[in-house]
Amino acid sequence: MSTERVRLGTATVRDRARGAAIAAGGLMKVYKGGVKALDGLGFTVAPGTIFALLGPNGAGKSTTVKILTTLSRPTEGDAFVAGFDVIREADEIRRVIGVVAQRSGVDGASTAVENLQLQGRIYGLGAKTTRLRTTELLERFRLTEAAGRAARTYSGGMRRKLDIAMGLIHRPRILFLDEPTTGLDPEARADMWQEIQALSEQEELTVLLTTHYLEEADRLADRLALLDRGRLVVEGTPEELKAGLLGDSVQIELGTSELPALLSAELEQLEAVRAFSVEETQLRAQVDHGATALPVILAVLDGYRVPVISATISRPSLDDVYLQYVGHSYDHSGTTVGGPR
């Protein structure tokens, strides 16, 4: 009975895999010691698109990338990359994917040229093709000047670019970018965003990227999946997700971060408020109708003598998508903060 169900599951994932760059279904990953990193994750990525897995640290993004890139095996479930099974056809997958992991894999003692050439040869490119591709990629990522220096002397941004160049040397069909901008300064991040956008516009390259920056997913992804504790919470285009939120977003800046204990309970009681979160002095609420909800909220705050500095009503952003689906708001350091569940 249960075997049949599993086989049925495989068949549907396999069906989805046809014509898709990536298809995953029912992915479970339990590490030694019982830590459950993935809990039935499934999604499909169309060829030539940028797909973002968005979620806080520990949501299962990196585990998903490890499984899809054949580094790790799922405890249960199925995944197909470029139509190949991650377990039975790992070798075929390895030939057609490029991987830029969080831990870069750039050899610091070697130069950019040497790193790229080793990578090219390992992927079976001939000596001449490897040389040509190396020159091409160094120019493409503006690393030519530094190409003869040991990679350990590079800045974070340069190293990340070399990383991506190494992932591209064999012209993969699918590129995995695991938190490509984590640890980069704002300038390098903006630069990296442009590079990633340019990549997807070229050829038929499919990009799966993970990030814990809402802004990054909003900016880059054609579609995104919100992950929480190893599960898919919601999936769609950034626009769809935002449009799916009826109503408005209310942001109130408070004059204090020390709030009375009963305030939360009372805000929860309000019919006009669907969800809310407080981070330091920022109160963020999701409401059906901003203009009528705002006075109600302000009245409650006033009742508790909480000073208010400013209030804004706006259309929802991905922050609000997160607030609605995961139930706790999202701060940009990648940690989640409390709120109603």
């Binding site: 590490y31 030694k32 490890k66 890139t69 054949t70 580094l71 790790s72 095996r73 070798d91 390895r94 030939r95 994917i97 991987v99 992991a101 969080q102 831990r103 870069s104 894999g105 750039v106 050899d107 610091g108 003692a109 070697s110 040497e114 080793l118 990578q119 040869r121 390992i122 992927y123 079976g124 040991a150 190494m166």
Partner: protein, 258 residues
């Protein structure tokens, strides 16, 4: 097969490059055995006068031992390289590529073997300068180098296994420090086995360091007993095969744990 060899060669090249680019490492790798040779050679010079030692020059007796020690200490920290590559993601990057799995550690072991071979060759020449004479000629020298290299690969395999199992630098350093010095002294490296206590002689019989020293030294002597040489060098090679398999198994366990 050719793919596997090619991949191993690419990986070997990379490690060789990394090693050569560390001038301090190259210097210490050569300086340390030179110091041993000069120091121990002077310190124990008159050991040959002990009745039963059989005379001859101590430097001639000592050189094969220093060659083997060099191999051992050079390869002992091999696991640190594996740990560094795990930390920086170099190994994971190789694992998501079509590179043959065996080439990843294989390339490192080949590089270790090459380094050990060259280092030991230099020590042999230095011994010659300091007055050692090798009656066994080039063939004897080659057999000694093979024995030393096999021991080096064996120790490297062990070091990799410890590194991949514990994934801690402290463990690799600890095991190396705990194991290598005693193994050296529980062998015929500095003293003829006929002159050591019985229990040391018993341990020496199952000590890979002793196999390498004893087999290599015999080959370097005039009119060697080839049976003794083959047995001891063969055992050393077997030791290298076993620890390489241990390292490979530990690598498999690492891959399953990701």
């Amino acid at each position: 097969m050719t793919t596997a060899l090619a991949h191993t060669w690419y990986v070997t090249q990379r490690y060789s490059r990394t090693a050569i680019r560390q001038p301090i490492w190259v210097l210490s790798a050569l300086l340390q055995p030179i110091i041993w040779l000069v120091l121990f050679g002077a310190l124990f010079k008159r050991i040959v006068e002990i009745p039963g030692f059989g005379g001859g020059s101590y430097i001639g007796f000592l050189t094969p031992a220093i060659v083997v020690m060099t191999a051992m200490f050079s390869a002992g920290l091999c696991g640190m390289t594996v740990l560094a590559d795990l930390d920086t993601g170099v190994i994971d990057r190789m694992l998501v590529s079509p590179v043959r799995r065996g080439a990843i550690l294989g390339g490192l072991l080949v590089e270790q073997a090459a380094v050990v071979f060259v280092q030991c060759g230099i020590i042999l020449v230095l011994g010659l300068v300091l007055g050692a004479r090798y009656s066994g000629g080039p063939l004897g020298a080659l057999v000694l180098l093979v024995a030393a290299t096999a021991l080096g690969v064996g120790i490297a395999g062990l070091s990799n296994a410890v590194a991949l199992t514990t994934r801690r630098r402290e463990s690799v350093i600890g095991v190396v420090q705990l194991l290598l010095m005693p193994l050296t002294y529980l062998s015929s490296a500095f003293m003829k086995l006929e002159l050591v206590p019985g229990w040391i002689r018993d341990i020496a019989r199952v000590n890979p360091v002793n196999w390498a020293v004893s087999g290599g030294r015999e080959a370097l002597a005039g009119n060697p007993q080839w049976g003794h040489v083959f047995l001891n060098v063969g055992l050393t090679v077997a030791f290298a095969v076993v620890t390489t398999l241990l390292g490979t198994a530990a690598f498999g366990a690492y891959r399953r744990s990701v």
